[in-house]
């Protein structure tokens, strides 16, 4: 796993901005912007560009637009903002950039500056500033949604666990979705193990919003696995969203507020590691939080740096920290095949890609097959899927073609957002492929 990034981002002022202030703010990114030598190599890697072939959709084009806005060649923040958001923040470009441009950092800060100028919009304000910071309110709303979801869901064909939602078409479009919390949540008694087995560490378990509200089976599986391996753990009661969706929407202030709340929540008890089954949460804590360390001080800064250093996704926690042994299972060609999709936040952001494969290859009931282009982005990108569904789906179809080329029965991954995307595309294309988290498959095999 790559070390937490030492590259701090510049400190920006809070509050609304006028056009001149926006340009001035963007000019603080100049040292990062000037590194782009316009070679165009990012085209080969960008899923959005490969779907549209538009220069404004690739990193080179977007970096130029940010520069234009910073230096007055463009005076239309709205138009630049639109194009900045046609991006998955997947980091594929950055991985391929010969010049080492910190592309996603530029985009995140530029989004936050354009949002300070344009405002967030009422819906985002409500969700980011009112619901996500209040864990109990968020849970109550999720319960209500769970209670009332039945009449909305129509069996969709393909995977029996996905549904179409005709009544919500204006919001959800053609999307196929799983039932909220179809699997039972973990039992009350399994929520904490105060003390680890001798010599083993104690973890603060961070479920992530999607497993928490939509896939409780992942939480249950993770806790079962931790318990079986003898780790101690607890789930911080006052935890909130990791903040990544806010950062990607440009709500820097809201993001910082959530981080601050989390830092406090994690001080509830003593522990050695943060463990999460969500690739995006892992990358948030390990990579994105410390980039903003300039905004923290004292106890908070200490917690933030400790967490960044000691946050692990569940698969690398098992293999690297607990050093659990995963001997390869015999390769029986008659077994159902399982294929793996690399979430960008795990592979490109954290450099974790062997760990989940080691676990999958050890499963006695499955035969592992590597799919071509396993590291290619699935096109979800969180808010990107909400704002640009057609484009997102087009990217997902390419992903699907790669995955089904090895005839899998199960598609495994380590990011719940990727799971939603894969379920959607398999369901709409009528493929009988089950989508599971690696940890669920492992827990099932125990």
């Amino acid at each position: 796993m790559s070390a937490p990034s030492g590259e701090k981002l510049p400190l920006l002022k809070d509050g609304p901005l006028a056009l001149e202030g926006l340009a001035r703010g963007l000019r603080t990114l100049d040292d990062m912007l000037v590194r782009c030598m316009r070679c165009g190599f990012c085209q080969a890697a960008c899923p959005v560009y490969l779907a549209t072939m538009r220069e404004a959709d690739v990193a080179r084009g977007k970096l130029a637009l940010v520069e234009n806005l910073a230096f007055g060649l463009s005076r239309d923040p709205d138009a630049v903002n639109d194009r900045l958001h046609r991006c998955l923040l997947c980091g594929s470009c950055e991985k391929n950039c010969p010049s080492g441009v910190r592309i996603t950092d530029v985009f995140i800060l530029a989004r936050s500056l354009t949002a300070s100028y344009l405002g967030l919009g009422p819906l985002k304000r409500l969700v980011f500033r009112q619901i996500l910071p209040r864990p109990r309110l968020f849970e109550t709303l999720a319960r209500v949604a769970r209670f009332f979801q039945r009449p909305f869901l129509r069996p969709a064909g393909g995977d029996p666990r996905t549904f179409s939602v005709p009544l919500l078409r204006p919001v959800l479009g053609e999307r196929r979705v799983p039932r909220l919390a179809a699997d039972p949540p973990p039992g009350e008694e399994s929520l904490r193990i105060p003390r680890a087995a001798r010599g083993l560490p104690r973890a603060a378990f961070f479920p992530g919003c999607v497993p928490d509200k939509i896939f409780p089976g992942i939480v249950r599986a993770s806790l079962k696995v931790l318990a079986r391996h003898g780790a101690g753990f607890f789930i911080p009661r006052e935890r909130v969203c990791c903040g990544l969706p806010l950062l990607s929407a440009g709500d820097r202030e809201g993001f910082l507020r959530l981080v601050k709340r989390n830092l406090r929540a994690f001080r509830e008890e003593k522990f050695d590691y943060l463990v999460t089954p969500c690739a995006s949460c892992a990358s948030a804590v390990r990579v994105y939080w410390p980039r903003f360390s300039a905004y923290f001080a004292g106890e908070d800064l200490k917690s933030l740096l400790f967490l960044a250093e000691n946050a692990y996704d569940a698969t690398s926690f098992l293999t690297r920290v607990l050093k659990a042994d995963f001997p390869p299972s015999p390769k029986d060609p008659a077994l159902p095949r399982v294929v793996y999709h690399d979430p960008c936040h795990l592979r490109k952001s954290l450099g974790v890609f062997e760990e989940p494969r080691i676990i999958l290859k050890s499963l006695p009931g499955h035969l592992y097959r590597e799919a071509p282009g396993a590291e290619r982005c699935c096109g979800n990108g969180g808010s990107f899927n909400l704002a640009h569904y057609d484009l997102s789906f087009q990217i997902a179809r390419r992903k699907r073609a790669d995955l089904i080329s090895v005839s899998p029965r199960v598609a495994a991954t380590t990011c719940p957002a990727c799971m939603l995307q894969l379920m959607d595309v398999f369901s709409r294309e009528g493929d009988a492929v089950e989508v599971r988290h690696v940890i669920e498959l492992y827990a099932d095999s125990m």
């Binding site: 100049d30 040292d31 000037v34 590194r35 030598m37 316009r38 070679c39 165009g40 190599f41 085209q43 080969a44 072939m53 538009r54 220069e55 404004a56 084009g61 977007k62 130029a64 637009l65 234009n68 060649l73 463009s74 239309d76 138009a79 630049v80 639109d82 194009r83 010969p98 010049s99 080492g100």
Partner: protein, 462 residues
């Protein structure tokens, strides 16, 4: 912008709204390419979704008096795709990216112009065939762009450059009529050698719609080696020696100390950073004996010319490491300073030592950091000037040094550009390399094939 709204609607009807761009922020993203030059936005951008529509769009644009610049991946380093002043259109080939045929019996490929170079390479490799031209940008550059600039690459010494693989092509002329030239046969003398004329035409004579490209059987044996030197002259002498010694390596690359240090600092692969220069050599063929024999000959020549060490790595990982170093050179240099200016002047191979010396002198004179690497076997070096394009004083010295490089190359019977093209960056130098009559002849040719003077008119010859 004075582009008429009715013409815009016309294009939208013809190509579909999603393939016509007129918003300023979209236009601005086509204002630049890989060259370090001031940007200029076009009035409209067209992305024809099929070859037929390309011809029709071109006809209407020409009739409407729009200056036309065709654009593939926009990776050229000479400003060849920076739009023209006045009412102008950029025509994109991004959606014309089908490989139409790989012919395994007659060894050729038929491609649309927007196919990415590396995609053809990989497709051919699937059937044991080989498309040799490999510009450093091959993962993104398009075949259309390669032909329009006659792109070269690392394999130029033995395998030649793009023009050596162009068997035939189809293009649209200024009236949007389809012109067919060349053929699928190895030999063809029907008509003028139009593929030759269109090669390196930089979008000034017409827009390609289909390319027929030669493929080779892929060599089954390769050997890589490195030779390390105490001074640059001995490396250069070795290059001349290898060529005079009648061995033909597939690749013969040069890196100076600045490059070695930069790559080593970036990727720690154990390069000899105290050496003044290193040659990276690859020989290939179909028989072990021949390949080993060639390698041995080269080893002796390098030794005789003063190489401190000649290494012939046996393992694949070590070989990969060598080429990783070469491919990593420009990126490693690029990380040292905010901007890089990559030059491309080329001299006869025997003059490489003098050219290297001239570059060193110029760097001192203009107080600039320069790393030089490149295709020494082709006499095609890339002196890379490290700078900050935001610093006008420094950038002025860069421009002076670039002029100095051109001057030196011409004095050594060389040429302004081996593979990156003339574009806008070097057009003013063309007459110096040739003479007035050559410019006038070229302009007369252009006038006949582009009567309104709309095809990328500020590029190549002006």
């Amino acid at each position: 912008m004075t582009l008429s709204p009715s013409l815009v609607r016309d294009f939208q009807k013809l190509l579909g709204r999603e393939n016509v761009f007129t918003e300023r922020e979209d236009l601005l993203s086509y204002a630049f390419d890989g060259a370090v030059l001031p940007p200029r936005a076009p009035s409209i951008v067209l992305m024809p979704p099929s070859v037929e529509l390309l011809g029709e769009a071109l006809r209407r644009a020409y009739e409407g008096g729009l200056a036309l610049t065709a654009r593939g991946a926009g990776t050229n380093l000479s400003g060849a795709t920076i739009p023209e002043p006045g009412d102008s259109a950029v025509i994109l080939t991004g959606k014309l990216n089908r490989i139409l045929e790989i012919n395994q019996n007659d060894l050729y490929a038929v491609c649309e112009p927007g196919v990415v170079t590396a995609d053809l390479f990989r497709k051919a490799a699937e059937t044991g065939l080989f498309y040799p031209p490999d510009p450093g940008s091959m993962e993104v550059s398009t075949l259309g762009g390669n032909v329009a600039l006659n792109a070269g690459g690392l394999r130029g010494l033995k395998y030649g450059v793009t023009k050596d693989y162009l068997m035939g092509l189809e293009f649209f002329d200024w009236r949007g009529r389809l012109i067919k030239s060349g053929s699928r046969t190895v030999k063809c003398v029907s008509g003028y050698n139009l593929p030759g004329l269109m090669t390196a035409s930089e979008g000034t004579l017409g827009v390609f719609s289909r390319l027929i490209l030669k493929l080779l059987p892929a060599p089954s044996r390769t050997l890589s080696m490195t030779a390390v030197y105490n001074n640059v002259a001995e490396a250069a002498e070795s290059v001349a020696g290898i060529i005079a010694g009648r061995v033909l390596p597939a690749t013969l690359e040069f890196m100076d100390q600045k490059c070695l240090k930069a790559v080593e600092a970036a990727s720690k692969i154990g390069l000899p950073t105290e050496a003044a220069a290193m040659l990276l050599i690859e020989v290939d063929g179909f028989y072990d004996e021949q390949v080993r024999g060639d390698a041995e000959k080269i080893r002796l020549i390098c030794r005789k010319n003063g190489a401190l060490a000649v290494d012939l790595p046996e393992s694949q990982t070590e070989r990969d490491r060598i080429w990783e170093a070469r491919r990593g050179t420009l990126p490693a240099l690029a990380r040292l300073r905010p901007s890089v200016v990559l030059e491309d002047a080329t001299v006869p191979r025997s003059r490489v030592p003098e050219m290297l010396e001239a570059v060193g002198r110029l760097a001192l004179k203009h107080r600039l950091e320069v790393g030089t690497f490149g295709h020494a076997g082709d006499g095609n070096l890339h002196p890379t000037i490290l700078c900050d394009r935001r610093d006008p004083k420094e950038f002025k010295r860069v421009e002076e040094m670039v002029d100095g490089i051109f001057e030196a190359a011409l004095k050594l019977d060389g040429t302004l550009s081996g593979e990156h093209g003339i574009g806008v960056a070097k057009a003013k130098w063309m007459e110096k390399e040739t003479n007035r009559a050559t410019i006038e002849f070229s302009l007369a040719l252009r006038g006949a094939l582009d009567p309104s003077g709309l095809f990328n008119f500020g590029k190549k010859v002006v």
